[in-house]
């Protein structure tokens, strides 16, 4: 009743049109809608972190997908693929990211569920929120295999032996080496990658533990802590040539060795995924895109995949839509996932992956692969134990015997690219970082070069065990200062090489690490002589040279030196790589 009175009489005359008020309202509506339109005009960008071996392929798939004009909530979607090694991704995600960070991933697509379990465990340890959804799909798969060069594979096959982790240990510890099969290839040499970063490395480690404990079921904490199990794992690690931070780096070295006709001398077996073997055999050791030609020619000596008799782990590539994404990104991620599952799955199979049912694509020929799914699939241990296994590696791995040589010439006082510190400061940080990552019983020495003394280098600290404190070396690094001497790069490398060689430790990884900035400034040592000295080492007593370059000028010389030995070259002049990450990669080799 009151309302009726408030609203007034029923038959009031129609309101007169207030044109001025309407004009203002219309103008306001137009502006407001335009602002909303402008504010939402940008595309939804979906950041996907992909592991190395599928990253270029995924980038190509994503580009084609973007071209189809996908939308979510009437907004266009752009998928951006970043290459982040599985272990690096796991490490990066163990901290909290601010929601405004444009590089924060929406989807994490590591190579294996193993990393997802590790992330869950590590985040729980740090009392961070759970960012892993309860359900995530595993899209493509690739089993871990023991890959051997074709000639060696034939020798083993004709002997009728069954290849597995136990066989590997027995063979690796056999002082006869390949002469057991009446072959001239010296000792058995295993190639492995760092289990902190690489999926193959982590899976190989778990596989070794399983073999050591003699179980195909889930490992128990008792299994892992048993002394004989640890001894077994340590034994397998001892046969390692050097660790690579990624399979790509390792296979690239193998390809170079093959190119100079020495594939059999570099390594006897590598623990990698089937997909890597497929890529290596077609001349694509770094798993780039073959479009239509691969970056390199196919190697002479192809790899043959052996499926460990005790069972193997499978890289199952879980597509993880992280919990912190909003609903728009979640929908976009789900739509991209559907695309991967339906349209793109064939593409993955053609590129050497298996699908969800482990059925192989046309590329996995019976000559080098077993097209059947692996008979035994090892179960992953519980997450806490998984973390323990991963952490145990640093105490079980092969020890290093390494000399670090740092350039302290005047040019090192120039500012590093896009950074406000000198190159020397960066090099010092890198070296301290490296020391922090090594174990007390690793043996490390420190030299500087471009110094004023009578010798081309100065010995700052002789090679010796780091010790528990690690303080002496760290303190020496801290006090390094720039000097005005001539840079006798080749003489220093040769002297360092001879020095390490003179006190070679056969059960360790022997290496020289050179942090250099610039070309050699005239020494008596000839570059080509030095190269061939490094190359013509006996395979069982190799000293490897790892080089890190701070300037574009010195890149080529340092690269060639590292390839001769063969070690690895890292470019610190590349501003996209942080020095800490590079040094981590260098140290991964030990």
């Amino acid at each position: 009743m009151t309302l009726a009175r408030l609203l007034g009489p029923t038959d009031r005359p129609g309101p007169r049109t207030n044109l001025r008020a309407l004009a203002i309202t219309a103008a306001f509506a137009f502006v407001a809608v335009s602002l909303i339109g402008y504010g939402n005009s940008g595309c939804v960008s979906l950041v996907v972190w992909s592991s190395n071996e599928k990253s270029q392929l995924l980038q190509d798939i994503a580009e084609k997908y973007n071209d189809t004009g996908p939308t979510v909530d009437r907004r266009c979607v752009r998928v951006q693929v970043s290459t982040v090694a599985s272990g690096d991704g796991e490490a990066a995600l163990t901290r909290d990211w601010s929601p405004g960070d444009a590089t924060r991933p929406d989807v994490w697509w590591p190579a294996a569920t193993t990393w997802v379990l590790l992330l869950k465990e590590h985040r729980a340890e740090r009392r961070l929120s759970d960012i892993i959804p309860a359900v995530y799909q595993k899209l493509i798969q690739s089993p871990l295999v023991i890959a051997m060069p074709e000639h060696m594979a034939d020798a083993v096959k004709s002997s009728g032996e069954v290849v597995g982790w136990t066989w590997l240990l027995k063979f690796a510890q056999d002082p006869q080496g390949w002469s057991r099969y009446e072959k001239p290839w010296g000792h058995f040499r295993l190639g492995k990658t760092n289990p902190m970063i690489s999926t193959s490395g982590l899976h190989a480690l778990i596989g070794t533990y399983n073999a050591a404990a003699g179980t195909t079921g889930q490992l128990t904490p008792e299994d892992v802590r048993r002394d004989d199990v640890r001894a077994f794992v340590r034994g397998v690690e001892r046969s390692v040539v050097h660790y690579g931070e990624s399979v790509a780096r390792f296979l690239d070295n193998l390809w170079n060795a093959d190119d100079s006709g020495d594939a059999l001398g570099y390594v006897s077996a590598v623990a990698v995924e089937e997909k890597h073997v497929f890529d290596y055999n077609r001349g694509n050791p770094e798993s780039l895109l073959c479009d239509p030609l691969c970056p390199q020619v196919a190697p002479q000596e192809k790899l043959v995949a052996f499926y460990p008799s005790e069972g193997t782990l499978i890289a199952d590539h879980p597509y993880v839509i992280l919990n912190w994404v909003d609903s728009v990104h979640r929908q976009a991620a789900a739509d991209f996932q559907r695309h991967l599952e339906s349209d793109a799955i064939q593409r993955f199979q053609e590129e050497g992956f298996r699908d969800q049912n482990l059925s192989a694509g046309p590329g996995l020929s019976t000559k080098y692969f077993d097209r059947q799914p692996p008979r035994t699939r090892l179960l992953l241990p519980d997450p806490p134990l998984l973390a323990e296994i991963q952490a145990s590696w640093s105490s079980l791995r092969k020890r290093a015997h390494v000399l670090i040589a740092i350039d302290v010439g005047r040019s090192m006082t120039t500012l590093a690219q896009e950074q406000s510190v000198t190159k020397l400061e960066l090099a010092k940080r890198a070296a301290s970082d490296a020391v922090g990552r090594l174990e007390p019983d690793d043996e490390v020495g420190l030299w500087t070069f471009s110094t004023n003394g009578d010798k081309p280098y100065r010995e700052v600290l002789p090679i010796g065990p780091l010790g528990t404190g690690k303080s002496e070396l760290a303190r020496r690094i801290e006090t390094l200062e720039a000097e005005d001497g001539t840079r006798q790069l080749f003489a220093t490398v040769l002297a360092g090489f001879d020095h390490v060689r003179s006190r070679l430790a056969p059960d360790r990884i022997n290496a020289v690490v050179v942090l250099g900035n610039g070309v050699d400034e005239g020494t008596q040592v000839n570059f080509y002589d030095l190269q061939s000295t490094l190359r013509r080492q006996s395979n069982d007593q190799r000293v490897r040279v790892f080089t890190l370059s701070y300037s574009a000028a010195s890149s080529s010389q340092l690269r060639q030196l590292s390839e001769a030995s063969p070690g690895a070259f890292y470019n610190a002049a590349d501003p996209t790589k942080t020095i800490a990450k590079l040094m981590r990669d260098v140290i991964s080799n030990f």
């Binding site: 038959d11 049109t17 909303i36």
Partner: protein, 167 residues
């Protein structure tokens, strides 16, 4: 209290404009088309209505001058004139003289300001008045129709523009 109530009543009075409703609906739809979030869609509609109310309160229409009041006698004559009868016919009907009707016509004309045609326009035709509807019913119906018209216009323009952009 009373002042607030009066202000509220005036605000509601402004909302009787069907075009306010139509603009609000069309803006919400345009925001949806441009990919606005749900809250943006709701907010833009509410804001449009609020701006219409504010503009109406700040820029009111000039008051309408009061309509000239005819006496009942004058009104009867005016209606008959509007029906198209001549003064003689009217005089016959009302049992009076034509002169009297002429005089009344002149008085009505002076009040309204115009001739016979203006008188007819002033009192309307003989067709029956439409049934009065409640004002809010009128507002909602007209506003919805106008809003639907704007929305279909928007939809057409949107489709044309995305087709041009996609080319």
């Amino acid at each position: 209290m009373r002042a607030i109530l009066e202000l509220l009543m005036r605000a509601i009075e402004e909302l009787r404009d069907p075009w306010a409703l139509a603009f609000a609906a069309a803006s919400a739809y345009a925001a949806y088309l441009f990919g606005g979030h749900d809250w943006q869609i709701v907010a833009v509609a509410v804001a449009v209505l609020a701006v219409r109310v504010a503009a109406g309160l700040l820029l009111p229409l000039a008051p309408v001058p009061p309509a000239p009041r005819l006496t009942s006698e004058e009104y009867v004559i005016a209606r008959l004139i509007a029906r198209g009868l001549t003064n003689t016919q009217i005089a016959d009907q009302l049992k009076t003289t034509t002169r009297a009707i002429d005089r009344l016509e002149a008085r009505i004309g002076a009040k309204i300001g115009g001739g016979r045609d203006d008188i007819a326009r002033h009192v309307g035709t003989s067709t029956p008045e439409p049934q009065p509807r409640h004002w809010y019913e009128r507002t909602v119906v007209r506003g919805t129709l106008a809003g639907a018209g704007l929305i279909s216009l928007m939809w057409t323009l949107y489709n044309i523009s995305i087709r041009i952009l996609a080319r």
